[in-house]
């Protein structure tokens, strides 16, 4: 155990990236990601971090520069949010298909419009299918650990894929938390030098990003899919390895007081904290309720999820994004699909809430539980989704 310090999560995230000895940071500032990039820029300017900080003119360029730098074999970091991710979008897909081990922190914020700077998950859901590894973090420590962890997994030769660490804008980025910094020796022990699978180098010519004709494109996609599926075992092994060093073990589906619980909440990101408090309260009142926190989003942890929901009668899925005209929120749609073949699968109740930073308190979670439980609200159970707390 090293010393815990009270620090803003964004600053801690930047420090972690610095500890990972990143070579290139290319980013464009956007709320609420700004402090992460700002701090990295300071670290480079002050000589504390030996890296190139490339201030680009847009997020499209940020990811393009990241692709170029990663392709040469440099350890590369970028960071964005919401509209910035939208501008970056096409290059995110390219980075993944080129199998470049870029690490990106995504400070989750709603996509406009109406214009909003506050937190929800509509930005990350827009790149759900980009083919990168995507995880959600719950608190500051979680963010710090995963900034270093992400490089290790992304750069593993068996993986070689971009790694996106989601952290809730403001709810995480702007809060001060007690965070245990890693010892430098830990980083040295955990994170080896980057040995890229492919590298642009004059000594060995290689083409990246070639045209794929119709008769080879499907094969290219299939290979990419397999890479992401295969990444899962590395994700799990590396969590174990990190846990052996830090004492903190992470799982694809974190379970909180789920034993024998008839109803399970399922949350992503920082909502796990508030939901766990609600579960404490409800259990004290004798309710049979637990909590699942989906940490690994891509590759999707199908087996772990099936195991975690076994025996539950209902899963209350909290979505923080809208799939317009779809069948429920993006997470609920995924969970339903994942549980479809399960014998005696639980009822999925889906609430869309917490959009653009609207507070969802313990009371709200308790109310959602009541609504899902009560016979009078059968309509809730039967509808595909409910916009929780929306004013009529």
């Amino acid at each position: 155990m090293t010393k815990r310090v009270g620090v803003e999560v964004s600053i801690a995230a930047a420090e972690a990236v610095g500890m990972a000895d990143v070579d290139v940071v290319s980013a464009y500032p956007i709320t609420p990601q700004t402090h992460i990039v700002e701090h990295l820029s300071e670290m480079v300017a002050d000589g504390h971090l030996d890296a190139e900080f490339i201030p680009v003119e847009s997020e499209h360029s940020a990811m393009s520069v990241a692709c170029g730098s990663s392709a040469t074999g440099a350890r590369t970091f970028t960071c964005t949010s919401s509209q910035g991710l939208a501008v970056m979008n096409e290059v995110v897909f390219l980075a993944a298909s080129l199998r470049l081990p870029i690490v990106m922190a995504l400070a989750n914020r709603s996509l406009s419009g109406p214009l909003s700077i506050w937190n929800d998950h509509s930005d990350v859901m827009s790149i759900r299918d980009c083919g990168a590894i995507q995880i959600f973090t719950e608190n500051g420590q979680d963010v710090f650990d995963h900034m270093i962890y992400a490089f290790k997994v992304a750069e593993n030769p068996k993986v070689s894929l971009p790694f996106i660490v989601n952290l809730d804008g403001f709810l995480l980025t702007h809060v001060i938390e007690p965070i245990e910094y890693w010892d430098k020796e830990w980083v040295k022990q955990f994170l080896p030098e980057l040995e890229p699978v492919n590298r642009l180098h004059p000594d060995k010519a290689i083409t990246m990003g070639a045209l794929g004709m119709p008769n080879i494109f499907t094969e290219a996609k299939r290979a990419h899919e397999q890479a992401l599926l295969d990444a899962k075992s590395v994700v799990l092994d590396t969590w174990k390895e990190m846990g052996d060093i830090t004492g903190r073990y992470y799982h694809p589906v974190e379970e909180y007081k789920t034993e024998g619980a008839e109803t399970l909440f399922l949350t992503l990101g920082s909502f796990g904290e508030i939901a766990s408090l609600t579960v404490d309260e409800l259990q004290e009142q004798g309710e049979s309720v637990g909590l699942l926190k989906l940490r690994l989003w891509r590759p999707f942890p199908q087996e772990e999820l099936l195991e975690a929901v076994k025996g539950a009668k209902q899963v209350i899925v909290i979505d923080r994004a809208v799939t317009f005209g779809g069948v429920g929120g993006p997470v609920a749609a995924e969970i339903r699909s994942a549980l479809y073949h399960m014998e005696e699968s639980p009822v999925i109740t889906n609430y869309i809430c917490g959009l653009a930073g609207r507070d969802v308190t313990r009371k709200d979670f308790a109310k959602m539980y009541e609504m899902s439980k009560s016979r009078e609200n059968d309509s809730v159970k039967q509808s595909e989704y409910v916009f929780y707390g929306v004013r009529e």
Binding site: L98, V197, I206, T207, G212, M213, N215, T218, A220
Partner: protein
């Protein structure tokens, strides 16, 4: 439907599309088996350098450049302007298009000072 496609090096095949939308059937130039997804390099990279040499763009051609050597002054303007570097210098110092790559765009004929290049229709 395309029954056959041309193997043009590494993992590139190019079905020939006529302007009327019909696909031209061609014999397979190489008998190399089409690669499965496991055969591809990580990230669809191509580590074999110079593979574009095998990319036979000459099949796209509907017009062929014919040089009238009696008018040619060996200036090499066609060589400079060819967008595909398909024009090569012969031993006698004349410039000719390598028909394996020449797409028949006609830029050489357009740029030629003396008008010694004529674009004639491919008959096949």
């Amino acid at each position: 439907m395309v029954d056959d496609v041309i193997f043009t090096g590494n993992h590139f095949w190019y079905p020939i599309l006529f302007s009327n939308g019909r696909l031209l059937r061609r014999n397979v130039v190489s008998t190399v088996k089409e690669p499965g997804w496991r055969d591809l390099e990580v990230g669809f990279a191509i580590s074999q350098s110079g593979s574009s040499r095998e990319y036979k763009t000459g099949d796209w051609r509907s017009l062929r450049p014919i040089v009238d050597k009696s008018k040619c002054i060996k200036c090499g303007i066609c060589y400079i302007f060819c967008p595909d570097m398909a024009v090569v210098k012969t031993e006698e110092g004349y410039f000719e298009a390598d028909l394996y790559y020449c797409k028949g765009c006609g830029i050489c004929a357009y740029e030629c000072f003396t008008g010694c290049i004529e674009m004639v229709a491919e008959e096949e």
